[in-house]
Amino acid sequence: MKPRVASVWLSGCSGCHMSFLDLDERLIELADMAELVYSPFVDIKHFPRDVDVALVEGAVSNVENEEMAHIIRRNSKFVLSFGDCATTGNISAMRNQFSAGEIVRRSYVELADDASVLPLEPTSIAQLMPSAVPLHAIIKVDAFLHGCPPSPDQIWFALSELMAGRIPDLPTAYLKYG
């Protein structure tokens, strides 16, 4: 059976996933090696069980992200922090100087073009945590992909090593902040 790979988009800009797509023709090779069981790229609603490798983009910023992080950890053998937001908080953490209330007001009232109202229904948006934090602040992470976004070569190195059953010993050449 092919290794089961998942990718998750938490509080990030999806740039890491765009870089994933920049694997270009290597995506075909990856499709032969692995089964993509959950991802923003595929239409599957719930994070499945028995995932071998999970790539997690974005910081953990709201209660939904936090719940998801625990599901990912429970159901995955190997969890990768995918990019700078997952690894350091990065851009997603720039809002941490302000309170959650200020952030919501800024987004939904001050910067709204029209219909500037606060989301009244408590469940209509996921409740923000006081701070956006890196993934390893919430769950145990097995490896880190760096960069904003990580380069396709770095993603490819990590994935192809994992698909071959090896823990990726990421060369320092791939170490890049920002």
């Binding site: 700078d84 990065n90 720039m94 100087q97 934090v133 390893h136 170490l175 902040y177 920002g178």
Partner: protein, 244 residues
Amino acid sequence: MPILTFAMNGHQVSGHDDETLLQIARQHGIHIPTLCHLDGLSDIGACRLCLVEIEGQDKLVAACVTKPQEGMSVHTDTERLQRYRRTIVELLASEGNHQCAVCVVNEHCQLQDLAYAVELQYVRFPYLYPKRTLDATHKDFVMDRNRCVLCSRCIRVCHEVEGAHTWDTAGRSFHCTIMADMDQPWGTAASCTSCGKCVWVCPTGALFEKGQTVAEMEKHRDFLKYIVTARRTGEWIAEEEEGE
């Protein structure tokens, strides 16, 4: 001036008694990481990255402010020192608000260089996300305290080289910040000559030129060597640097 002989990483080295361990190490091609040190400015031992071990004493000392003693044995790169240096970089990263992806000196940053040097994969400590201010009141330059590591190079270059002493520190501990004149907007600081030396010696993107965007600013610090050497020798002639 007496010349002393002592051991560094097991090799015999020699230096004058008024030189620092850091200077002597560099003369002998031994690399010791630094952050607050800058050739041409006084040393204050603030960043602790240049800590070294001296055999026979438990206390680590900062190489930039320690003078040699005859017969001593110094170690500059032990496992313990590597662990401490990594920890220092992690503490610096978690104490400020460092978002490399949107920083003006991304890829030209001395804090980033240190993180690469210790191969920092992630920061073990909780990030503090301090609430800090940005001062864009100066006509040419910006001070973004989010990126400041309090190395005090700006304070020293302004005081020691420019002679203006516009910058100083205010507050203590986590509340310590760099302030202009009497803790007022930089643009209103009467002592500032707008020479820009502080901007060029700053190791991070805390001080930068207006009009520069992400990863655009590369800081050249050679001017300091020129000024300091010229003052000492009285010859204001730019040296032709080979290969530059």
